[in-house]
Symmetry: C2
Subunit: 588 residues, 2 copies
């Protein structure tokens, strides 16, 4: 995994105001001498100068920054218990997925002492509100090409989050907010079959290699704590979880047996490990559950249905809602970012934008304001399945009701009739919702609704979502996004094939497709494409037009049109012929 994504590319670093602020970027040297510098999520794994070893974890980039602030301390963490990994209290017959296949615990990462706040909030938002620009803020400012002060303002206002648990010093800081590049999250989960630690870690590095800005570890079952530890220690991107999944495992899988105490204990367990953001379905209120009764597809969120089942079983208000303020205190002590879950999101086109969904969103707004009192960083999760004409309303309401907090949506899918292609049905919705202001997109793979994604599915999902995110960046007028497109367009026009491949989201696939039609090496430098062949080429004709215009330096249309006449004579006189060879492709 140390080979670069783009063989021709180099890892480069933008140097900050102090030696230990070094922001990784991907530098793509072009054959015309230009260099394009791109945002890079792939971490130290693609830097040939860094040796990585999953058994030692990544270097703790932020450790000094955290320590220097002097507002946290190490302490003896919560002891890891067998049930954290699913080895006690399991129902009989449950399948383990331990590394040896027999349920034996997976090898643990060497123990560490966690940190937490000694006093007030140690969140990036709290620092921003106090006017402090942290190294993390400067890091993301360099990464995004904006000023540190702008980053600080956005964080202070709650319009952006910088997920960075004090116990996850390994991350390369990144920011999520509508005024920054649109981000992409990839979900990963542990394998049902035995797999090595290297394999588990590799799922994360595979997703970040193709551009995932964060990952969510949605593992369940055995070894969940230990696997998460390995992932966190090796992840250069923020890691999110849904603590409810682990909590419900600890009570043998029955939502009715859940208690707030078990949930809180799970949050602390994961906080000490370094989880950067947590999905919490605190907005699924008892009175909203009946609103789903007449829906076409009811409740489709797993977390939402767990809490609905709990409310049903006890006829009590959601314990995540009733204990929200205490959770805010915990989140403030580790700098965990809220990802307020949308447990009542629509599960079909028919249910989009209904009363249940928007009732929960209103409560997300209420909770967002409460979390702000504690200096917490907050995102709001959003749908799901939404037809195109109802997408904008989701962003508008979320932005209004949640005070401009970053919106984090799953797709949305714009139709339900294409199982097997939901990375596409949802990339359409994702691009649109991001254009309207969603800050981060949770990817959907081709296996959505059908099965568990494999390596190819993860890549397909990430690429589809990088397309959606980038299309939105372009539509929002991001200058860096436009420059990237321009560089590729220029390479295309100049028939610099290698540059086209190296600038593309997936150089391997672009190159492979080109090779199928024109496999020979010289074709990579040929001044034509497979569509029109070597003798006739529309781009060639354009170059004639352009060269003429440039040589003459004529700015006015009329003058150019005049020039055309001369050009026509020159063309005929020179006997210059253009040929249209065989080969179909493209329209007209």
């Amino acid at each position: 995994m140390t080979e670069p994504v783009v063989p021709a590319a180099r890892k480069t670093y933008l140097q900050g105001s102090r030696p230990d602020i070094r922001v990784p970027m991907r530098e793509v040297p072009l054959t015309n001498g230009d260099v394009v510098v791109l945002y890079d999520t792939s971490g130290p794994y693609t830097d040939p100068d860094q040796k990585t070893d999953v058994r030692r974890g990544l270097p703790p980039l932020r450790a000094r920054w955290i320590a220097e602030r002097g507002d946290t301390e190490e302490y003896d963490g919560r002891p890891v218990r067998p049930e954290d990994d699913g080895y006690r209290g399991r129902r009989s017959g449950a399948e383990g997925n331990g590394a040896d296949g027999n349920g034996a615990p997976r090898e643990a990462f060497p123990p560490r002492r966690p940190r937490r706040a000694t006093g007030g909030a140690v969140t990036q938002r709290a620092y921003a509100q106090r006017g402090e620009i942290t190294p993390e803020m400067e890091f993301v400012a360099l990464r995004e090409g904006v000023t540190p002060e702008f980053v600080r303002e956005e964080l202070a206002a709650g319009r952006a989050v910088l997920p960075a648990n004090v116990n996850h010093p390994e991350i390369e800081p990144m920011i999520i907010g509508r005024n920054f590049l649109v981000k992409v999250n990839a979900n990963i989960g542990n394998s049902a079959v035995a797999s090595s630690i290297e394999d588990e870690v590799e799922k994360m590095t595979w997703a970040t290699r193709w551009g995932a800005d964060t990952i969510m570890d949605l593992s369940t079952g055995k070894d969940i704590h230990t696997t998460r530890e390995w992932i966190l220690r090796n992840s250069p991107v923020p890691v999110g979880t849904v603590p409810l999944y682990q909590a419900v495992e600890k009570v043998g899988g029955n939502p009715a047996d859940l208690t707030y105490e078990i949930f809180r204990d799970t949050v602390i367990e994961q906080a000490e490990q370094g989880v950067d953001y947590m999905t919490v379905h605190a907005g699924v209120l008892l009175r909203y559950v009946p609103l789903t009764a007449r829906r076409k597809t009811g409740i489709v969120s797993r977390g939402g249905s767990i809490m609905a089942a709990w409310c049903l079983a006890h006829h009590k208000e959601n314990f995540l809602y009733t204990n929200f303020r205490e959770l805010c205190e915990i989140f403030a002590a580790y700098d965990i970012t809220w990802s307020l879950g949308d447990g009542l999101r629509p599960g079909s086109i028919a249910d989009a934008n209904d009363e249940a969904q928007f009732a929960e969103l209103r409560t997300q707004g209420e909770l967002t304001k409460i979390a702000a009192e504690y200096g917490n960083q907050v995102m709001n999760e959003g749908p799901g399945h939404v037809p195109m004409h109802k997408i904008k309303e989701n962003v508008d309401k979320q932005q209004e009701w949640c005070d401009g907090a970053p919106f984090y949506t799953l797709g949305p899918l714009t139709t339900d009739i294409a199982p097997g292609y939901d990375h596409i049905t949802s990339a359409i919705g994702a691009a649109m919702i991001a254009h309207h202001g969603t800050a981060m997109l949770c990817y959907v793979t081709p296996k959505e609704h059908l099965g568990l994604p494999d390596r190819d599915d993860v890549k397909a999902g990430v690429i589809a979502y990088k397309i959606a995110a980038h299309a939105a960046d372009l539509a929002k007028g991001h200058p860096g996004a436009q420059a990237w497109d321009d560089a590729l367009s220029d390479a295309r026009f100049d028939f610099r094939w290698e540059d086209q491949f190296n600038l593309s989201l997936d150089p391997d696939t672009a190159r492979a497709y080109h090779d199928e039609t024109l496999p020979a090496a010289p074709a990579k430098t040929a001044h034509f494409c497979s569509m029109c062949g070597p003798h006739f080429c529309s781009m060639k004709i354009t170059r004639d037009v352009r060269r003429f215009a440039e040589e003459r330096g004529l700015a006015e249309e009329e003058a150019l049109a005049e020039g055309m006449r001369e050009k026509a004579e020159e063309f005929r006189a020179g006997g210059g012929r253009v040929y249209l060879p065989i080969a179909p492709g493209g329209t007209g």
Copy 2:
């Protein structure tokens, strides 16, 4: 190719007012006893009761309708010449693609006598303007679920086209217009390598099998005339071409050697064969060519660059523009539909919506009005490469300047950074532009810009575009589109796996993905999905909520909330437990 797309589906026919109006549909029987009837483009090939034989062609469904009108007559058509198939006047060294690989002509389809008008226009538009409802109009009315009178009005107003050359009686009529289902075109071309007639025809049937509403034959090189004849005689969908491609072949590949006479002769050649619509780049005016000089990617349309080269070489106005009225007369005599080409469409994000593009669109508007004088049916072609925020302007201007004529766009791609994935970059733009009013979408395959699409690419392109078209139909509020989604959503909620597969755009892929995770046959009837497993399921909890609500017939929230309390007691009393098993997937 006679096996159905959906093994469980049946070919069914909607019966019109006369015995020979029978509209094919796909009837999907569901396991719950419901039947869903879907639009079907796959032609007689998927009807087990019809025997098809490519060497005899499809039955001439419309032959009687055309003859009955008494306004056309058979005549001795233009003799087929060797150069029509590229066997004379070719430059030396040109590669043939004859069936034997040595340039020997391909076997011809048995000769037929063509028809043409004896007097005035024989177009569906002209009939509509006279108040006549043709069998073709009734056919599409049944197919679309609207009244024949509505079809007539839309055709008369020029807001829709029904491409149906009098020499292509084999088609199952279809309509293209913003007030009908969004349509998808697939481009096919002949192979550079020798292939059988069956193989050439199969490219068309493969595309229509997955949902292509029309195909464009963009073949070049040898056997172009003969291959087109085989395709037309076997195509149940309208066939479009770009006659300029063949015309330039006839002059040895040099645009400068083109003449209007050669072009007109090619149009008549193709008109007699039955081509239903033709892309003609009549809007590429001499004075617009210099406007492309400062573009990032100049002229990228092949037809546009041929005409620009011709204008450059002669410094004369585009002969397609100067002879437009005579072409209108020819089009009226065969009912060929105009697809006014956009030769100056943008080839990169940077060039979108520029002066060159909109100058040509204004000329398309002028030509659209002229064609209307002749009773011609007209579509306007559109881009191309357009960032999301500039998409709507394209439709708005086209609709305004071209009097509401159907817009027919290629994508548009919403970013240029993902070669290898342009079916996705463009499905985003296609869905959006169709939502805003584009009537037909020309597909883009994953090989766009890189190479020639193979069978898998064609399928990937068609499916991506069916998604885009359907997402737009939903967003436009089409009741039939919503019903299709609802049927699939219901099947998903009820865990009717076979119904989900059978209702999907690609049942094979959906089934295969499901099999990867849950291969056993019982899993197809299992009341759970691979994401949450058999014991815990969010949809199951919802069903509990819903069943309770329905049993009690309680309409009000309060009553339902009251019911929740009873439900909670029942739940605890019955010891009914819900289990959350291992298995990741999906967010929260």
